[in-house]
Symmetry: C2
Subunit: 196 residues, 2 copies
């Protein structure tokens, strides 16, 4: 996708972010040079620095954007309902939301070690917030006698790991639709929580 030298575009910024997201996911942050990103967008490397102060900011920006959007999107969808209804909504939301954001999900987990300590803490706090949402659902279900869970925190970690794992194998072209997968995983989630 190299562009003609000197050509212009009002959307260079987003295109740089798109390229960085895809390249970081495919090859890893450390393996992707600023030159590779520039070349993907059709720029020379110097031009990138009009859009980011350095490579680290590029990574951190992508991860923060993803995690903030994730937490916000869930809180938008959450609303009320019984613990059982909220748990089902969470399981289906998690699978759907993550399925269409493969690259960002991959980066947000794999590239944590390439963040500076300060940036790492910010991303981890966002992750804790998201996990906290599921823990709260499980704890409320236990309180109301709807769930049988030995430890809401551990069960939450187990459920999130299970649901996120869909991304490692699911492909749109496979024998199951995403709706099929949602149904099967909701069933396993329900059982893991000891829901009736």
């Amino acid at each position: 996708m190299a562009r003609t030298s000197g050509s212009h575009s009002e959307i260079t910024g987003p295109r740089i972010l798109d390229a960085a997201l895809r390249l970081f996911a495919q090859q890893g942050y450390a393996a992707v040079s600023m030159r590779k990103i520039a070349s993907e967008v059709g720029l020379q490397v110097g031009a990138l620095y009009n859009y980011t102060p350095d490579k680290q900011s590029l990574l951190f920006g992508l991860m923060r954007e993803h995690m903030e959007n994730l937490v916000a999107a869930w809180r938008e969808e959450a609303q009320g309902g019984t613990p059982n209804a909220r748990l089902e909504k969470f399981a289906r939301f998690h699978i759907r939301y993550h399925n269409v954001r493969r690259d960002a999900v991959f980066i947000a987990y794999m590239e944590l070690r390439n963040l500076t300590p300060e940036n790492f803490e910010i991303i981890e706090e966002l992750r804790r917030q998201y996990e906290g949402e599921l823990i709260a659902i499980l704890a409320e279900g236990v309180r109301q006698g709807d769930f049988q869970v030995a430890d809401p925190k551990i069960t939450a970690m187990a459920i999130i790991a299970m649901l996120t794992g869909v991304n490692t194998w699911f492909r749109e072209t496979g024998r199951l639709s995403l709706k099929d997968v949602e149904d099967i995983y909701w069933d396993m989630t329900r059982r893991a929580a000891g829901a009736s």
Copy 2:
């Protein structure tokens, strides 16, 4: 752990592998230079090439060793029994085996993209073998009417993702012992499989 220049050791090879394993896990393959590995072992970089033809072989060797040992260790432990007994054995084995090999487990998943295509295929085949062991247990349980599983392959992927997830949060110093964690995860595994 820098050693005196010119000193000798009969175990340089293993020490290089240990250092590479730890550094690759902590910082990522692409971010670790041969110099860093050499320095960790107390060598100059040139000496490493007495033990490995190149950096890629170092990574591939670590991953193949880990995956082959994993498959072999499970087949050693597997033996017979009811599907329910075999499933419990698998869940507990997986958690225990992976818990004491954090670095290797991390690398075997995170660094797949840094393998050459030929090496990648070999590692993936070993992973498929391991997953196949769990799929077989679930399928046998379904046949005997012990389990209620919509799709043994998917349930296997879900269970493995859930069990492997323990590594992301469990610490020996936490409030739960590994035995506690094993018990809780076995319970969730049992439920996910619809076992009685």
